[in-house]
Subunit: 196 residues, 2 copies
Protein backbone atom coordinates (compact mmCIF):
# COMPACT_ATOMS: atom_id res chain seq x y z
CA UNK A 1 0.00 0.00 0.00
CA UNK A 2 1.10 3.54 -0.68
CA UNK A 3 2.87 4.90 2.41
CA UNK A 4 0.99 8.20 2.33
CA UNK A 5 -2.35 6.44 2.11
CA UNK A 6 -1.47 4.08 4.90
CA UNK A 7 -0.29 6.92 7.09
CA UNK A 8 -3.48 8.80 6.41
CA UNK A 9 -5.62 5.77 7.12
CA UNK A 10 -3.93 5.17 10.47
CA UNK A 11 -4.38 8.81 11.36
CA UNK A 12 -8.06 8.68 10.51
CA UNK A 13 -8.65 5.67 12.77
CA UNK A 14 -6.62 7.23 15.54
CA UNK A 15 -8.62 10.43 15.29
CA UNK A 16 -11.97 8.72 15.68
CA UNK A 17 -10.70 6.83 18.72
CA UNK A 18 -9.08 9.87 20.33
CA UNK A 19 -12.27 11.80 19.80
CA UNK A 20 -14.38 9.45 21.88
CA UNK A 21 -11.89 8.55 24.62
CA UNK A 22 -8.99 10.38 26.29
CA UNK A 23 -5.36 9.65 25.52
CA UNK A 24 -4.64 7.20 28.31
CA UNK A 25 -7.64 5.02 27.59
CA UNK A 26 -6.77 4.41 23.95
CA UNK A 27 -4.11 1.78 23.38
CA UNK A 28 -1.89 1.47 20.38
CA UNK A 29 -3.09 -2.09 20.04
CA UNK A 30 -6.63 -0.82 19.60
CA UNK A 31 -5.65 1.75 16.99
CA UNK A 32 -3.69 -0.87 15.08
CA UNK A 33 -6.61 -3.29 15.20
CA UNK A 34 -9.01 -0.60 14.03
CA UNK A 35 -6.70 0.22 11.14
CA UNK A 36 -6.22 -3.46 10.31
CA UNK A 37 -2.46 -3.33 10.67
CA UNK A 38 0.12 -4.60 13.09
CA UNK A 39 0.95 -2.68 16.20
CA UNK A 40 4.58 -2.30 15.27
CA UNK A 41 3.62 -0.44 12.13
CA UNK A 42 2.41 2.46 14.21
CA UNK A 43 5.89 2.88 15.62
CA UNK A 44 7.30 2.59 12.13
CA UNK A 45 5.20 5.48 10.85
CA UNK A 46 4.92 7.75 13.85
CA UNK A 47 7.71 6.70 16.19
CA UNK A 48 6.02 6.88 19.56
CA UNK A 49 2.43 6.91 20.68
CA UNK A 50 2.65 10.55 21.75
CA UNK A 51 3.81 11.59 18.29
CA UNK A 52 0.92 9.73 16.74
CA UNK A 53 -1.43 11.53 19.11
CA UNK A 54 0.08 14.92 18.32
CA UNK A 55 -0.12 14.24 14.58
CA UNK A 56 -3.75 13.18 14.88
CA UNK A 57 -4.64 16.18 17.02
CA UNK A 58 -2.81 18.62 14.75
CA UNK A 59 -4.74 17.39 11.75
CA UNK A 60 -7.99 17.50 13.69
CA UNK A 61 -7.42 21.13 14.53
CA UNK A 62 -6.13 22.04 11.10
CA UNK A 63 -9.56 22.72 9.67
CA UNK A 64 -9.86 25.31 6.93
CA UNK A 65 -11.37 28.41 8.51
CA UNK A 66 -14.81 29.51 7.45
CA UNK A 67 -14.32 31.61 4.33
CA UNK A 68 -14.73 35.34 4.75
CA UNK A 69 -17.74 36.56 2.78
CA UNK A 70 -17.32 39.33 0.30
CA UNK A 71 -19.64 41.92 1.73
CA UNK A 72 -17.54 42.56 4.78
CA UNK A 73 -15.43 45.02 2.82
CA UNK A 74 -17.82 47.93 3.17
CA UNK A 75 -19.79 46.75 6.17
CA UNK A 76 -19.86 48.37 9.58
CA UNK A 77 -17.76 47.20 12.49
CA UNK A 78 -20.76 45.57 14.07
CA UNK A 79 -21.63 43.67 10.94
CA UNK A 80 -18.12 42.40 10.59
CA UNK A 81 -18.03 41.42 14.23
CA UNK A 82 -21.33 39.61 13.81
CA UNK A 83 -19.84 37.76 10.87
CA UNK A 84 -16.78 36.81 12.89
CA UNK A 85 -18.86 35.43 15.73
CA UNK A 86 -20.95 33.56 13.21
CA UNK A 87 -17.82 32.03 11.80
CA UNK A 88 -16.76 30.80 15.21
CA UNK A 89 -20.12 29.29 16.06
CA UNK A 90 -20.33 27.75 12.62
CA UNK A 91 -16.92 26.19 13.04
CA UNK A 92 -18.02 24.85 16.39
CA UNK A 93 -21.20 23.33 15.05
CA UNK A 94 -19.46 21.73 12.09
CA UNK A 95 -17.08 19.60 14.08
CA UNK A 96 -18.24 20.01 17.58
CA UNK A 97 -16.80 16.81 19.00
CA UNK A 98 -13.34 17.70 17.77
CA UNK A 99 -13.15 20.96 19.66
CA UNK A 100 -14.79 19.59 22.73
CA UNK A 101 -12.29 16.76 22.78
CA UNK A 102 -9.24 18.84 22.01
CA UNK A 103 -9.92 21.86 24.16
CA UNK A 104 -10.67 21.52 27.79
CA UNK A 105 -9.03 18.68 29.65
CA UNK A 106 -8.94 16.20 26.81
CA UNK A 107 -12.37 14.70 27.29
CA UNK A 108 -11.99 13.33 30.80
CA UNK A 109 -15.31 14.00 32.55
CA UNK A 110 -14.14 13.59 36.13
CA UNK A 111 -11.11 15.76 35.60
CA UNK A 112 -13.35 18.30 33.92
CA UNK A 113 -15.56 18.32 36.96
CA UNK A 114 -12.69 19.12 39.30
CA UNK A 115 -11.46 22.14 37.39
CA UNK A 116 -15.06 23.15 36.73
CA UNK A 117 -15.65 23.38 40.42
CA UNK A 118 -12.61 25.59 40.88
CA UNK A 119 -13.79 27.87 38.09
CA UNK A 120 -17.22 28.14 39.63
CA UNK A 121 -15.49 29.33 42.79
CA UNK A 122 -13.88 32.09 40.75
CA UNK A 123 -17.30 33.09 39.47
CA UNK A 124 -18.62 33.13 43.02
CA UNK A 125 -15.84 35.46 44.00
CA UNK A 126 -16.57 37.80 41.12
CA UNK A 127 -20.25 37.86 41.98
CA UNK A 128 -19.50 38.66 45.59
CA UNK A 129 -16.96 41.37 44.98
CA UNK A 130 -18.84 43.23 42.29
CA UNK A 131 -21.96 42.99 44.43
CA UNK A 132 -24.54 41.57 42.09
CA UNK A 133 -28.12 41.81 43.24
CA UNK A 134 -29.93 38.64 44.30
CA UNK A 135 -32.07 38.65 41.17
CA UNK A 136 -29.02 38.62 38.95
CA UNK A 137 -27.39 35.94 41.07
CA UNK A 138 -30.29 33.59 40.66
CA UNK A 139 -30.15 33.55 36.87
CA UNK A 140 -27.93 30.82 35.49
CA UNK A 141 -27.27 32.87 32.35
CA UNK A 142 -25.35 35.36 34.46
CA UNK A 143 -23.13 32.63 35.78
CA UNK A 144 -22.63 31.38 32.26
CA UNK A 145 -21.53 34.77 31.00
CA UNK A 146 -19.24 35.30 33.95
CA UNK A 147 -17.69 31.94 33.18
CA UNK A 148 -17.02 33.42 29.79
CA UNK A 149 -15.23 36.30 31.44
CA UNK A 150 -13.32 33.83 33.56
CA UNK A 151 -12.11 32.14 30.39
CA UNK A 152 -10.97 35.48 29.11
CA UNK A 153 -9.12 36.11 32.36
CA UNK A 154 -7.33 32.77 32.06
CA UNK A 155 -6.36 33.36 28.45
CA UNK A 156 -5.04 36.87 29.00
CA UNK A 157 -3.17 35.74 32.10
CA UNK A 158 -1.50 33.04 30.04
CA UNK A 159 -0.56 35.72 27.54
CA UNK A 160 1.11 37.59 30.36
CA UNK A 161 2.80 34.72 32.20
CA UNK A 162 3.69 32.37 29.39
CA UNK A 163 3.86 34.29 26.14
CA UNK A 164 4.75 37.72 27.40
CA UNK A 165 2.65 39.52 24.81
CA UNK A 166 0.88 41.41 27.59
CA UNK A 167 2.16 43.00 30.77
CA UNK A 168 0.47 42.57 34.09
CA UNK A 169 -0.67 46.17 33.93
CA UNK A 170 -2.20 45.64 30.51
CA UNK A 171 -3.98 42.50 31.64
CA UNK A 172 -5.42 44.35 34.60
CA UNK A 173 -6.62 47.27 32.55
CA UNK A 174 -8.03 45.03 29.84
CA UNK A 175 -9.97 42.86 32.25
CA UNK A 176 -11.21 45.78 34.30
CA UNK A 177 -12.48 47.72 31.30
CA UNK A 178 -14.08 44.63 29.85
CA UNK A 179 -15.79 43.56 33.07
CA UNK A 180 -17.20 47.04 33.65
CA UNK A 181 -18.75 47.03 30.20
CA UNK A 182 -20.05 43.52 30.69
CA UNK A 183 -21.82 44.42 33.89
CA UNK A 184 -23.20 47.75 32.74
CA UNK A 185 -24.06 47.07 29.13
CA UNK A 186 -23.64 43.58 27.76
CA UNK A 187 -25.10 41.33 30.42
CA UNK A 188 -28.27 43.43 30.96
CA UNK A 189 -28.76 43.57 27.22
CA UNK A 190 -28.49 39.82 26.82
CA UNK A 191 -30.82 39.24 29.76
CA UNK A 192 -33.48 41.60 28.43
CA UNK A 193 -33.36 40.28 24.92
CA UNK A 194 -36.19 37.86 24.14
CA UNK A 195 -35.27 34.66 22.36
CA UNK A 196 -35.99 34.88 18.63
Amino acid sequence: MDPDDRRQQILARAQTLFRERPYGEVSNTEIAAAAGVSRGLLNHYFGTKRELYLAALAEMLDVPPVPVPEYVAGASVRDRVCESVNGWLQLLEDDQETWLAALGTGGDPELEQVVDQAREGIVDHIIEVVGLGPLARSRPEVRGMLRGFSGMAEATSAEWLKRGRLTRHQVHEFLEETLVRLLEDVIPRVLDDPPP
Copy 2:
Protein backbone atom coordinates in the same frame (compact mmCIF):
# COMPACT_ATOMS: atom_id res chain seq x y z
CA MET B 1 1.67 6.72 61.45
CA ASP B 2 -1.68 8.46 61.64
CA PRO B 3 -3.67 7.65 58.52
CA ASP B 4 -4.71 11.23 57.96
CA ASP B 5 -1.15 12.45 58.21
CA ARG B 6 0.09 9.77 55.88
CA ARG B 7 -2.62 10.48 53.38
CA GLN B 8 -1.78 14.15 53.49
CA GLN B 9 1.91 13.47 53.11
CA ILE B 10 1.37 11.31 50.05
CA LEU B 11 -0.86 13.98 48.56
CA ALA B 12 1.77 16.64 49.12
CA ARG B 13 4.46 14.64 47.34
CA ALA B 14 2.09 13.78 44.53
CA GLN B 15 1.19 17.44 44.09
CA THR B 16 4.78 18.58 43.73
CA LEU B 17 5.42 15.87 41.14
CA PHE B 18 2.23 16.53 39.19
CA ARG B 19 3.07 20.21 39.14
CA GLU B 20 6.33 19.74 37.32
CA ARG B 21 5.41 16.92 34.96
CA PRO B 22 2.19 15.81 33.25
CA TYR B 23 0.13 12.87 34.38
CA GLY B 24 1.53 10.21 32.11
CA GLU B 25 5.14 10.97 32.93
CA VAL B 26 4.74 10.54 36.68
CA SER B 27 4.69 6.95 37.86
CA ASN B 28 3.16 5.67 41.04
CA THR B 29 6.50 4.13 41.86
CA GLU B 30 8.06 7.57 41.81
CA ILE B 31 5.40 9.10 44.04
CA ALA B 32 5.77 6.24 46.48
CA ALA B 33 9.54 6.63 46.54
CA ALA B 34 9.25 10.36 47.09
CA ALA B 35 6.88 9.77 49.98
CA GLY B 36 9.09 7.04 51.41
CA VAL B 37 6.38 4.39 51.32
CA SER B 38 5.61 1.30 49.34
CA ARG B 39 3.85 1.52 46.04
CA GLY B 40 0.99 -0.67 47.19
CA LEU B 41 0.14 1.84 49.88
CA LEU B 42 -0.93 4.35 47.28
CA ASN B 43 -3.58 1.90 46.10
CA HIS B 44 -4.58 1.30 49.69
CA TYR B 45 -5.25 5.00 50.31
CA PHE B 46 -6.46 6.25 46.97
CA GLY B 47 -7.51 3.15 45.05
CA THR B 48 -6.27 3.91 41.58
CA LYS B 49 -3.70 6.29 40.19
CA ARG B 50 -6.38 8.44 38.59
CA GLU B 51 -8.14 8.90 41.93
CA LEU B 52 -4.89 9.94 43.51
CA TYR B 53 -4.39 12.45 40.73
CA LEU B 54 -7.88 13.83 41.08
CA ALA B 55 -7.49 14.14 44.84
CA ALA B 56 -4.18 15.95 44.44
CA LEU B 57 -5.57 18.27 41.80
CA ALA B 58 -8.71 19.00 43.77
CA GLU B 59 -6.67 20.03 46.77
CA MET B 60 -4.37 22.10 44.61
CA LEU B 61 -7.31 24.03 43.23
CA ASP B 62 -9.07 24.30 46.57
CA VAL B 63 -7.27 27.46 47.58
CA PRO B 64 -9.08 29.89 49.87
CA PRO B 65 -10.15 32.82 47.69
CA VAL B 66 -8.64 36.20 48.31
CA PRO B 67 -10.72 37.80 51.09
CA VAL B 68 -13.06 40.56 50.02
CA PRO B 69 -11.96 43.87 51.55
CA GLU B 70 -14.40 45.88 53.58
CA TYR B 71 -14.55 49.07 51.60
CA VAL B 72 -16.23 47.48 48.63
CA ALA B 73 -19.61 47.95 50.26
CA GLY B 74 -19.98 51.60 49.31
CA ALA B 75 -17.58 51.70 46.39
CA SER B 76 -18.45 52.26 42.77
CA VAL B 77 -18.87 49.49 40.27
CA ARG B 78 -15.50 50.26 38.74
CA ASP B 79 -13.77 50.13 42.10
CA ARG B 80 -15.32 46.79 42.89
CA VAL B 81 -14.44 45.46 39.48
CA CYS B 82 -10.87 46.66 39.96
CA GLU B 83 -10.78 44.83 43.25
CA SER B 84 -12.11 41.66 41.66
CA VAL B 85 -9.47 41.72 38.94
CA ASN B 86 -6.85 42.37 41.58
CA GLY B 87 -8.05 39.31 43.44
CA TRP B 88 -7.67 37.15 40.36
CA LEU B 89 -4.19 38.39 39.53
CA GLN B 90 -3.18 38.06 43.14
CA LEU B 91 -4.41 34.48 43.23
CA LEU B 92 -2.45 33.81 40.09
CA GLU B 93 0.77 35.26 41.44
CA ASP B 94 0.49 33.41 44.73
CA ASP B 95 0.48 29.95 43.27
CA GLN B 96 1.23 30.47 39.68
CA GLU B 97 2.62 27.05 38.92
CA THR B 98 -0.51 25.36 40.21
CA TRP B 99 -2.83 27.15 37.84
CA LEU B 100 -0.52 26.88 34.91
CA ALA B 101 -0.22 23.15 35.50
CA ALA B 102 -3.89 22.51 36.14
CA LEU B 103 -5.45 24.71 33.49
CA GLY B 104 -4.43 24.41 29.90
CA THR B 105 -3.45 21.01 28.68
CA GLY B 106 -1.95 19.71 31.88
CA GLY B 107 1.56 21.02 31.46
CA ASP B 108 2.50 19.22 28.28
CA PRO B 109 4.49 21.73 26.20
CA GLU B 110 4.23 20.02 22.82
CA LEU B 111 0.52 19.45 23.19
CA GLU B 112 0.18 23.05 24.25
CA GLN B 113 1.93 24.15 21.12
CA VAL B 114 -0.46 22.25 18.88
CA VAL B 115 -3.62 23.76 20.34
CA ASP B 116 -1.89 27.12 20.59
CA GLN B 117 -1.36 27.11 16.88
CA ALA B 118 -5.01 26.35 16.27
CA ARG B 119 -6.03 29.20 18.54
CA GLU B 120 -3.73 31.60 16.75
CA GLY B 121 -5.53 30.64 13.59
CA ILE B 122 -8.78 31.72 15.23
CA VAL B 123 -7.21 35.05 16.09
CA ASP B 124 -6.06 35.44 12.50
CA HIS B 125 -9.57 34.86 11.34
CA ILE B 126 -10.95 37.45 13.72
CA ILE B 127 -8.37 39.99 12.61
CA GLU B 128 -9.19 39.40 9.00
CA VAL B 129 -12.95 39.52 9.31
CA VAL B 130 -13.17 42.59 11.52
CA GLY B 131 -10.67 44.29 9.24
CA LEU B 132 -8.04 45.56 11.61
CA GLY B 133 -5.63 48.07 10.17
CA PRO B 134 -2.03 47.05 9.51
CA LEU B 135 -0.77 49.12 12.42
CA ALA B 136 -3.03 47.27 14.85
CA ARG B 137 -2.08 43.93 13.33
CA SER B 138 1.58 44.50 13.93
CA ARG B 139 1.25 45.00 17.66
CA PRO B 140 1.54 41.76 19.63
CA GLU B 141 -0.59 43.21 22.43
CA VAL B 142 -3.56 43.19 20.06
CA ARG B 143 -3.06 39.51 19.38
CA GLY B 144 -2.79 38.89 23.10
CA MET B 145 -6.05 40.61 23.84
CA LEU B 146 -7.82 38.86 20.99
CA ARG B 147 -6.57 35.59 22.43
CA GLY B 148 -8.33 36.68 25.57
CA PHE B 149 -11.51 37.10 23.59
CA SER B 150 -10.92 33.70 22.04
CA GLY B 151 -10.78 32.22 25.54
CA MET B 152 -14.07 33.90 26.32
CA ALA B 153 -15.56 32.46 23.15
CA GLU B 154 -14.46 28.96 24.12
CA ALA B 155 -15.81 29.28 27.64
CA THR B 156 -19.20 30.62 26.63
CA SER B 157 -19.46 28.01 23.89
CA ALA B 158 -18.84 25.32 26.48
CA GLU B 159 -21.61 26.90 28.56
CA TRP B 160 -23.89 26.50 25.60
CA LEU B 161 -22.88 23.04 24.39
CA LYS B 162 -22.03 21.27 27.62
CA ARG B 163 -23.76 23.01 30.49
CA GLY B 164 -26.72 24.50 28.76
CA ARG B 165 -26.74 27.65 30.85
CA LEU B 166 -26.66 29.73 27.68
CA THR B 167 -28.47 29.36 24.38
CA ARG B 168 -26.76 29.73 21.07
CA HIS B 169 -28.53 33.01 20.54
CA GLN B 170 -27.31 34.32 23.88
CA VAL B 171 -23.76 33.26 23.16
CA HIS B 172 -23.88 35.04 19.86
CA GLU B 173 -25.27 38.23 21.30
CA PHE B 174 -22.88 38.17 24.22
CA LEU B 175 -19.79 37.66 22.07
CA GLU B 176 -20.88 40.20 19.49
CA GLU B 177 -21.59 42.92 22.02
CA THR B 178 -18.37 42.21 23.85
CA LEU B 179 -16.19 42.17 20.76
CA VAL B 180 -17.64 45.45 19.50
CA ARG B 181 -16.79 47.11 22.79
CA LEU B 182 -13.35 45.57 22.80
CA LEU B 183 -12.54 46.92 19.36
CA GLU B 184 -14.03 50.36 19.85
CA ASP B 185 -13.19 51.11 23.46
CA VAL B 186 -11.11 48.65 25.42
CA ILE B 187 -8.29 47.74 23.06
CA PRO B 188 -7.55 51.33 21.97
CA ARG B 189 -7.56 52.41 25.59
CA VAL B 190 -5.10 49.71 26.63
CA LEU B 191 -2.86 50.50 23.67
CA ASP B 192 -2.79 54.23 24.39
CA ASP B 193 -2.19 53.81 28.08
CA PRO B 194 1.46 54.33 29.05
CA PRO B 195 3.00 51.79 31.38
CA PRO B 196 3.11 53.04 34.96
